[in-house]
Point group: C2
Chain length 216, copies 2
Amino acid sequence: MAKIDLVRRAEIGREKRARTRAQILEAGALLLAERPPEALTVDAVVEAAGVAKGTFYYHFLSISELAAAVGVMLGESFDEMLTPAKLELSDPVARLVFMSRQFLQKAISDQVWARLVVQSSQSPTEFGRGIREHLKADLAEAIAQGRMVVKDVDLAADIVIGMLLQIMRGIIERGAPRDLIREALDAVLRALGAAETGFDGLDDVLDGQPGEGATP
Amino acid sequence: MAKIDLVRRAEIGREKRARTRAQILEAGALLLAERPPEALTVDAVVEAAGVAKGTFYYHFLSISELAAAVGVMLGESFDEMLTPAKLELSDPVARLVFMSRQFLQKAISDQVWARLVVQSSQSPTEFGRGIREHLKADLAEAIAQGRMVVKDVDLAADIVIGMLLQIMRGIIERGAPRDLIREALDAVLRALGAAETGFDGLDDVLDGQPGEGATP
DNA sequence: TTTCATGTTGACTGTATAGTCGATCCGACG
DNA sequence: CGTCGGATCGACTATACAGTCAACATGAAA
C-alpha cells in the first residue's frame, strides 16, 4: 500500500476551504451588523453566503460559533488598528486619544464595521472584554501618573467606551458633522479630567498628526 | 329584544382583563430585560406569565406589540421619575444632573429595570426617542445660555446617554462602588464642559439634596 | 336559575428553522 | 484516465414556533 502524502492532501483543499469559510464569515458579519446573534438563522447565513446548508455545518458547529468567529475577526481588526499606537506612543493618554480617534474614523469610513461593533457591544463577547482590558491598562497607567481626575479604572473605562459607542451610533444614524472627532476627543479627555495634564505632543495626536519621534 | 347595558357589560371583565394583561406585560418585561425582542417567543411569554397561548393573542397582536407596550410602560416610569425635576428646577443644567442622578439611582435599586433600559436602548423605540428629545431640550437651553463648551446638541446628547448607559452596564455587571453616582455626575458635567458654569444650588442637586425653593 | 357578554383555554394546523447524511463534485496524484 | 480524499451539496427528519379556533369558565343581570 503506497502511502500517499497525507500532509500534502491536507493542504490541497485548504485554499478552497479557507475561501468558503471566509465567504460564510463575511456573510455572517454582514448579517450580524444588523441583528443580534439570537435572531440570526443558519438559512439566512447560507443564503447570503451562497453555499449549501451542509457546508455551514462543515465549517461551524452552530450560529454562536460563527458569531464567536466574527468576534475574533473584529478583534483582529482592532489589533491591526491599534498596533501602531503601542509602538510609537509611550504616553498612555496619547495612546487613549489615538485609539479613540482611530475608532471614530473607522466608524465613519466603514458603516458595516460600525454597526457590527455596536451590535457586538451588547452581549459581552471575548472581543469586547479584550478591548476593555487593553483600554483599562492605559487608563491605569494614566491614573498612576496622576494625569486623571477619575481614579476608578472601571468607571473611566465605562466613560470612554460609553461615549465612543454612543457617538458611533450617532454617526450611523445621523452621520458625522464637521469637527465631530476633535470635539468628541476633547469631551472624552474632559470627562476623565485629563484635559489639562497633557504632554507636549498631545495636540498632534488630537489632530491626527504624526506623533512623537516621527518628525526627524 | 331588551337592550342590555353594554357599557356596564364592557366594564365587567375589565378588572380581570387588566390583571391578566398586566401579568403578560410583567412577564414580557422580565424576559425583555435579558434578551432582545427578536429572540422572544410567544411560548416563553405565556409560560412565564402562566396563561394560555390564546390569551396572549387576545391581548396582543404580536410580540412586537408586546415589546411596544413594555416600551410605553418604561416611558411612563421615566415620566414619573422626571416630573419633579420639571416642576421644581428651572435651571437646565440642574435638571440634567437631577435626571442623571435619578437614572443611576434607579439602576442601582432595580436591576431588572436597568437591564430593560439597556436592552431597549439598542433598537430605537418610541420610548428611546422620547427620552432623547426631552434631554436635547434641556441641553439646547443650556447651550443657549452659554453654559456648555459642547455646542452640538446631538453630540451632547450622545455624550450624556452614552456615559449613563455604559455606567448602567457597569452597575449591572460589577455593582456600584461608593461615590459612583457623584463621580459619574461630575464626569458628565466635565464632558459637556459645564462643570465651571454652574449656579449656586448645583452642589445640592449633585448631592441629591432638596433643590432651590424647597428650603423656606 | 337561566342567559349571555367577556375572557380564558389548549389542542390543532401550517411554516420556519435546526441539524443530519448519503450523493456528488473537484482536483491532485499515480 | 482512473483513484481517492477532502469539500460541497441539498433533500430529509425532527422540532420549535406562530397563529387559529371551537369549547369552556366566569359572573353580573334578568
